[in-house]
């Protein structure tokens, strides 16, 4: 039966159900158990992660939820190593912004083991990480760095936009034998949606057409999906019906769904919170320009953050993240464009 739970609870449930099903699944990261050390009052007091996503797992699965030292290079490396030796770790890179200190472990080691060892090494690690702006966490705790991981062959990159997708994609990630970067937008943890109680896996590389329309295709990543839906409602008032596509995974990317849609609408707007140089908007725009050029009736519009660090000032941060009005402006630009 489906019932309404939050994005945070959906992720927690995915972890719990997979840990129940498969004893080799372990959870590790900074404060993933959180304060439940020997002699402490017990798991009721355990943090369960900086924003409570892993709460309750420590008590249910003794010995399988590990608090790590504050050293990403050490514990991300350890998780990757453990994955090659038969465990299926779900390790938390608390903020995607910290990737710098453990990037070699991820892009040079985990991503390449399978290839370089001729298929003899599998690295079934899931790196869960928080990304995104809007919570006043400032420049070093608010970036959207999934394009960097998307660029690396050998990694799979997931950007769930809803509780239903979060649970199904995380279950799929844990069952996947390759390294998966699971990107959770920190401003989505409290959103709610219908989620089945049972376990289910959503395949990678399958986009979700969240809204159907014939006048313009809007591809949006992660939290931008709900912003795009708002913009779609706004332009519907002017008689423009927008098709909103959520790729769900940036790697592998469901090219076919995007191309089919543009072939039908002839117009594309890509909404990507990541900064504009070499982000998913540029990637998808180039793909469409290359493979569906004949179908395009207007240049492609990209809506992203500006090429700056994320501001700490409330007023500036609010201007930084794409909002519905900017998407509406982009839709108008493509629908009103004349040569």
């Amino acid at each position: 039966m489906a019932r309404t739970i939050s994005y945070r609870e959906a992720i927690n449930e995915a972890l719990a159900q997979e840990m129940e099903r498969d004893a080799s699944v372990i959870v590790m990261g900074e404060d993933n158990a959180g304060g439940a050390s020997v002699g402490s009052p017990g798991e009721e007091d355990a943090w369960g992660g900086v924003l409570g996503v892993t709460k309750g797992l420590y008590g249910r699965f003794p010995g399988r939820v590990l608090d790590t030292p504050i050293s990403e290079s050490a514990f991300i490396g350890a998780a990757i190593g453990a994955a090659t030796r038969g465990l299926r770790p779900v390790v938390e890179l608390m903020f995607i912004d910290f990737m710098g200190v453990c990037f070699d472990q991820i892009f040079n080691q985990a991503a390449k083991f399978r290839y370089m060892f001729g298929g003899n090494a599998l690295t079934p690690v899931v790196i869960r990480t928080m990304y995104g702006a809007g919570l006043r966490a400032a420049a070093q705790h608010s970036q959207a760095l999934y394009p960097v991981f998307t660029h690396i062959p050998g990694l799979k990159v997931v950007t769930p936009s809803s509780p239903y997708d979060a649970k199904g994609l995380l279950i799929a990630a844990i069952r996947d034998d390759d390294p998966v970067i699971f990107c959770e937008h920190k401003a989505l943890y409290d959103i709610t949606g219908d989620v089945p109680e049972e376990s289910y896996a959503i395949p990678f590389g399958e986009a979700n057409v969240v809204r159907e329309g014939s006048d313009v295709t809007i591809v949006a990543i992660g939290r931008m999906v709900s912003v795009a839906l708002q913009a779609a409602e706004d332009v519907a008032g002017s008689g423009i019906e927008a098709e909103v596509i959520d790729p769900r995974t940036t790697s592998p990317l469901d090219e076919d769904t995007i191309l089919e849609s543009v072939e039908h609408t002839g117009r594309l707007v890509v909404v990507d919170e990541a900064t504009p140089r070499c982000n998913l908007a540029t990637d998808i725009s180039a793909l469409v320009a290359q493979k569906a050029f004949g179908a395009l009736r207007a240049p492609i519009e990209m809506v992203s953050a500006p090429h700056t660090p994320v501001p700490f000032s409330d007023a500036l941060e609010d201007l930084y993240v794409p909002n519905p009005q900017r998407i509406v402006n982009a839709v108008k630009a493509v629908t009103e464009w004349k040569r």
Binding site: P196, E198, S199, Y200, A201, I202, E206, V209, T257
Partner: protein, 371 residues
Amino acid sequence: MTDDRIQRVTMPKWGLSMKTGTITGWVAAEGDEISQGDDLVEIDTDKIAGALESTWEGVLRKIVAEAGSSVPVGATIAVVAPADVSDEDVEAVVAQAREQLAAGVVEEEDAGAEVGTVEVDGRSISYATMGEGEDTIVLVHGYGGDKNSWLFVQEPLSHMHTVHALDLPGHGASSKDVGDGSLETMARAVLGFLDARGIGRAHLVGHSLGAAVVAAAAAEAPARVRSLTLVAPVGFGSDVDAEYLRGFAAATSRRQLKPLVGRLFADESLVTRQLVDDLLRYKRIDGVGAALQRLVDTLLDGDRQRIDTAARLGGVDVPTIVVWGREDRILPPTDINAAANVRVVDRAGHMVHMERPADVRHAVEAAVAAG
């Protein structure tokens, strides 16, 4: 005092999750004489579109909710009354209905369905019950379906009868384990449901595989079954769209599933994004793939039907009515031996209970009357 010959046409509840419906167009106009069974208005829910049939008699005096409006389930959308009821009385009712609509207040005349689960043979069986009446009807869906597929049939039948719709093992919100996936296992789940709900005897209605299941249940326990209504039934003849059955089990994406699901209907435009999305969500659940595979093995012998429902019903003396869509592409209507009363419905495909629910409803009523 309000003339109690004034009847309110209300937004029906089609399906458990329906909260509001959008009126897409009125078929009847103000001033028209309305009879039972007339199509009154076209309504879209987020799942599907359908026509509301009249269960009212009289003159359509006033339309309260115009085309384009979205209205909560249970709210008044029109007023029907005999021609001699005064305009003032009608207007009073209309004004009240408009106020309620504006305030978002909904009359709780229809409390909706009771949803629950029972344990049968170690499996959870999910069900939805509507209405209260002398006769008990149990609706059993087909392969890949669930209790919500009866959305246009359960509610109208529930005005006069107790109507249960259940999810077979492997489907809907029931346990996804189908055991050996045999017809006997499915039939036992239905009989077990009757036991668990304290139902002595019931009128069984089954669609497609569900029809073979209720027939098997009747063969196993004829004393429990007052009548059978078989809708587009499996097991009469050997022709079947085997590719559909296998393809449905194997499909993992919208692209694969949508064209297959289109084959279920005479009017393919009924296949909405939401419908396909709901099916995908069901198919992703752990265990569903394996369950559907088992059922395909139960249904198929090579590319032909394996089950022989006609044979099963051989010695069973239970009034039986068969309803079939003329344009059924999954199980083409065949000549059934005379014993059963067969009704073939025009402009309907395999999902005849969704495309022509009135015809299915009438068939069920006839079976109930005979049983």
